[in-house]
């Protein structure tokens, strides 16, 4: 018997690679977490039980305009210190523990709390920052300065749910069957670089960006130093954190279209660029020249969620698996086709996205 109980996972054959699965309903129709849990459970062997997590969009319609903070606290002392900071910068609309269910396979949990907050008018007025930038700054402050407190979700009308354990157990633990979302993203982890801790599981979030990632980024060292130049601080020890910051920088701060951001992360080779027509060649060359430090080198398959949009992307030589499918208004992506067929046995189309070509799902006009 190992610490995780009956399933003696550590003596099973070591299979490398994490697993991910996600879907979005472009019509805005919401569904419970049951489907996504079922899908990710099928990809069980891709994890080693050291991390699992979910992101869900559209789950807090009553508080849709407030920022939903999800936090881990080591103990009451950290909670008190953190709440003092939160109260000084934000109005707390509602506060309370995140409901959980005792689940076999999930070990001792930290205190898990949720707040719905709005930045205090008078504080924001004195800063030269937008509300979003203000929230980013405060979240980074909590994560760096307050011992024992960690914000693991900070977007509007969305939330991340993660823990140390297999993803299906994590989904059970957080009672995700009781939530309704138009987009669900799930991930199971097989970490080798960083120890298993609750904050280290995917998805990594900042504001309402959530990223899950399968692979290892060899360019992490320079991606990290690049985003740090723009005020982001990499506090975790994972590659995924830096990808979330890159997307926030490129999409929100630099205002680039999502296709451009994806090209920056997984650009075409010079061999190909040299044969493009003049205008295209200038565009791609400029992207590589200016955003070279944002290129993500190394195998990856990522899914990025944000309000109203889901993006899935492979690295430029497709070293990690990613399969996509569509049925009606729902777009699915997963590390394996079986993960999709488990919850959608007869999709309209199934395909393997090409290197550097993102799969993009967007909420249709006039939906929730």
């Amino acid at each position: 018997m190992n610490e995780y109980g009956m399933r003696d996972l550590l003596r099973e054959k070591e299979i490398s690679g994490c697993g991910l699965s996600a879907y979005m309903d472009e019509s805005g129709k919401r569904s419970s977490g049951n489907d996504i849990i079922q899908s990710i459970a099928l990809l069980h062997d891709r994890s080693n039980g050291l991390g699992g997590g979910f992101a869900a969009y559209g789950i807090y319609p009553e508080f849709a305009d407030s920022y939903a903070f999800h936090l881990f606290y080591e103990d009451g002392v950290s909670q008190a210190a953190c709440e003092e900071l939160i109260r000084s910068s934000f109005e707390i609309r509602e506060s309370g523990p995140i409901a959980t269910r005792k689940t076999f396979g999930i070990g001792p949990a930290p205190i898990i709390w949720r707040y719905f907050v709005d930045p205090k008018e008078e504080v924001l007025a004195h800063q030269d920052l937008s509300a979003d930038d203000f929230v980013v700054r405060e979240v980074m402050k909590i994560n760096r300065k307050i011992d024992g407190a960690f914000v693991f979700s900070s977007g509007k009308n969305m939330g991340a749910f993660k823990a140390v354990g297999f993803p299906e157990d994590v989904g059970d633990f957080y009672r995700l069957d009781e939530y309704e979302a138009y987009m669900w993203i799930a991930h199971g982890r097989f970490p080798t670089n960083t120890p298993g801790w609750w904050g280290g599981a995917h998805p990594f979030t900042i504001l309402d960006w959530a990223i899950v990632h399968n692979g290892e980024i060899s360019s992490y060292g320079i991606n990290m130093r690049y985003v740090e130049m723009f005020g982001y601080h990499c506090t975790m020890m994972t590659d995924t954190e830096v990808m979330a910051y890159l997307f926030d920088l490129l999409l929100r701060k630099h205002g680039l279209p999502v296709e451009t951001a994806c090209t920056i992360l997984a650009p075409p080779f010079w061999d190909l660029i040299e044969h493009m027509p003049e205008e295209e060649r200038a565009y791609y060359t400029a992207l590589r020249m200016v955003y070279g430090s944002a290129m993500a080198n190394g195998p990856f398959a990522i899914v990025l969620g944000s309000t109203g949009m889901m993006v899935a992307l492979n690295d430029r030589v497709k070293l990690r698996p990613l399969v996509a499918a569509r049925k009606g208004s729902r777009i699915y992506v997963s590390s394996e086709e079986s993960g999709i067929r488990e919850i959608c046995p007869h999709p309209d189309t199934v395909w393997m996205p090409r290197t550097g070509e993102p799969v993009i799902a967007r909420l249709q006009e006039g939906t929730a």
């Binding site: 060899s218 060292g221 130093r225 010079w270 565009y283 290129m295 080198n297």
Partner: protein, 504 residues
């Protein structure tokens, strides 16, 4: 002084049973070490004249010659070494400043040899450069913080206009080697090799010879404190202009070209009289403070219609990070840093061996400082000073350099044997000389081939190392210090370099 106390540095030995008295050694030594005596049909040698260039050894068709350090020694003394004693003798005998050539040869720590590289295994596949694309293309110049794009009918179009850039096939270029310090054949070899290979070469402060204007689009023209050879056509001819504030071999003082090396052609190119010593002033006399530098940078940009990047080259010294930050804000598009191992054709030995800091530390601190100030992308960093192999290049890029200048390596590729007597003008290999007897010894076609071979070999090795790290584009290595680990370094050295110790 009639009688010298200085023992010969080298001992020339002839294996008599192998000597065929062909007299090649006699003809090839510009220092007249070997002489042939007809009466006894013997070749004699005067070791006191030998400078250790190994020309005779290499050319002897029967390998009859050996040149080695003179085994005669002083009494063992860790403080008063033979070198130090002889230097005092030299100065006592001449009253002169000790002169030397090439780069610092003292045993300061070589940080490249204390850094090791990563390789990807299991969790991340390494990439095979023979079967997969491996990209080394590098752009040097000012880059904007972000790009503006517009979307029209689903197509994305670039709106931002970019500053002029230099495009390099690999992140290696030829360092400043002035015409005058080196021969025309050597300059031509460097220019043509850079042109054909797809990188750049630097004129140094010797100006640009008319016959080399055709390689202009691959030439960086230098504007140094003496302004030798600087005129309108010269500035227009190059692809970029480099303001030389200092060089690693002699920080704080200007260039040196002894009058013996100022031939007719050199005089025309530099715009100075034949036979006159070309001593560049220590500072630019129109740059006494940072704002003056800004003035010169923009004067050059105006003169060339903002079509060429302007680089500023400094020696790596104590405040390099702050100086570099100032240079970037003054408008420099490229910062060239030259470390303590940088080479030269002539420099006072004391300055070469004691002034400046190792380039490894300079790259790390400049790169880090520019990032902290959020201005790193406004200028590219090119590092120089003793890069001996492709591994040194890869490590420099991992520390944060955009590209590397090679000077000594290029000269060695052409045949230099590092005997350090460049300032005499009697280079037996035809590289650092203007003497017509000696200059033709360097065949520019062969030299060009050798330079291109070196670049090709390093290109391949860099690709192998990158692939080993699981990276297929050099952008992902640039500044990525997590791929380096230190071995045998102190805590503060690790801290300055910004790398972890091996094992962590």
């Amino acid at each position: 002084m009639r009688f010298s106390y200085i023992e010969p540095e080298f001992l020339v030995e002839r294996r008599l049973e192998r000597c065929i008295r062909c007299q090649v050694c006699v003809r090839q030594c510009a220092f007249e070490v070997h002489t042939y005596d007809e009466a006894s049909d013997t070749v004699f040698e005067d070791s006191s004249k030998c400078v250790g260039c190994l020309r005779c050894v290499t050319y002897c068709p029967t390998d009859a010659l050996i040149v080695r350090q003179n085994p005669t020694t002083f009494k063992e003394n860790a403080n008063w070494t033979g070198r130090v004693i002889k230097n005092i003798y030299k100065q006592a005998e001449t009253g002169g400043v000790l002169l030397t050539g090439m780069g610092n040869d003292r045993p300061y720590p070589i940080y490249w040899d204390h850094m090791v590289l990563n390789a990807s295994q299991v969790t991340n596949p390494s990439i095979d450069p023979l079967r997969e694309p491996m990209e080394l293309k590098t752009y040097l110049g000012r880059k904007p913080d972000h790009l503006n794009v517009s979307v029209k009918e689903g197509k994305v179009k670039l709106e931002t206009k970019l500053a002029p850039q230099l495009e390099l096939r690999i992140p290696v270029l030829f360092s400043a080697l002035s015409y005058g310090a080196i021969s025309f054949n050597a300059s031509k070899a460097l220019a043509s090799a850079a042109y054909e290979f797809g990188t750049y070469y630097n004129t140094g402060e010797g100006g640009l010879h008319r016959d080399l204007y055709r390689y202009g689009e691959r030439t960086i023209v230098q504007c140094a404190s003496g302004r030798f050879g600087v005129h309108k056509d010269y500035l227009q001819a190059g692809a970029a202009i480099e303001i030389k504030i200092g060089q690693g071999a002699k920080p704080g003082i200007g260039g040196h070209l002894p009058g013996e090396k100022v031939s007719e052609e050199v005089s025309k190119t530099r715009m100075i009289p034949v036979g006159s010593d070309a001593l560049s002033p220590a500072p630019h006399h129109d740059i006494y403070s940072i704002e003056d530098l800004r003035q010169l940078i923009y004067a050059l940009k105006e003169a060339t219609r903002y079509e060429k990047p302007v680089s500023v080259k400094i020696a790596a010294v104590h405040n390099s990070a702050a100086i570099a930050s100032g240079m970037v804000r003054a408008g420099a598009d490229i910062i060239a840093l030259d470390g303590i191992r940088g080479g030269t054709g002539a420099a006072p030995t004391t300055i070469r061996d004691n002034v400046g800091i190792p380039i490894e530390l300079a790259i790390a601190s400049v790169d880090q400082r520019l990032r902290e100030e959020g201005i790193r992308q406004q200028a590219s960093i090119v590092a120089a000073g003793g890069f001996r192999s492709s591994a040194d290049v890869v490590k420099a890029i991992a520390l944060g350099a955009d590209a590397v200048y090679i000077g000594t390596s290029a000269l060695v590729a052409m045949g230099c044997h590092l005997c350090q007597i460049c300032y005499t003008g009697k280079c037996n290999w035809g590289i650092a000389t203007q003497d017509p007897y000696l200059e033709k010894r360097l065949n520019p076609e062969i030299a060009k081939e050798r330079l291109m071979n070196l670049l090709r070999a390093w290109e391949h090795e860099i690709k192998e190392m990158l692939g080993g790290m699981g990276i297929n584009a050099i952008e992902s290595l640039r500044g990525n210090r997590l791929h380096l680990r230190g071995v045998g370094l102190t805590d503060s050295e690790l801290d300055i370099l910004g790398i972890l110790p091996a094992g962590r």
